[in-house]
Symmetry: C2
């Protein structure tokens, strides 16, 4: 059905089709362990509303929502720094962005694939 | 003099010791071309006030300032996507953060060192 879609988050995660291991959640933001992690520690933070990317122009892409996403990123990253000593916070755009739903990676440790 | 310092931005960039090529600037935020870029396109975005990192606890590290930093990141990243087709937005924390002043990398293209 969703063979041509490029929004893994709306199509799989947010509707529960793909079960995820939640790290933290608010009404509008979800943080969970990446289902196919690239790093030893790999958490993904997404808005629950569809927002295409950090720089996309939907009405939903407000500064208020971005701040809530950033608040969750800060919590997740602080925990990761406490546990592992370091963290990297990344979001990809344009050709670098695989799934067209704003998502932030919070990662630490060795790459594992 | 600053051999033991680990804040390149306060010690070199913001006081003008190291000249930089500005991309965009507000009263509180500066975006400039990295002086020793890691990528073909490599812009750094920093608050002009000293803030240790995204997750540090200074009184200056307010949501208002973070939003202003993010607004500049969005402008720089949008331009980079228009020019190169892609961009990656990154900030490092803990052991991954070399200079202990919040800074965001907006990069695109091949690594060059």
């Amino acid at each position: 059905m969703s063979g041509v879609s490029n929004d893994f988050y709306c199509d799989e995660v947010l509707n529960g089709k793909t079960q995820v291991n939640r790290v933290y959640e608010t009404d509008r933001v979800l943080a969970y362990h990446h289902t196919r992690p690239y790093y030893e520690h790999h958490v993904v933070v997404i808005p629950k509303l569809h927002v295409g990317s950090l720089i996309s122009g939907e009405a939903e892409n407000t500064e208020e929502l971005l701040l809530e996403v950033l608040r969750v990123i800060k919590m997740v990253a602080s925990d990761m720094v406490r546990q592992t000593g370091a963290a990297k916070v990344v979001t990809n755009l344009g050709d670098y962005q695989e799934s067209k739903h704003m998502h932030w990676h919070v990662v630490s440790g060795q790459t594992i694939r």
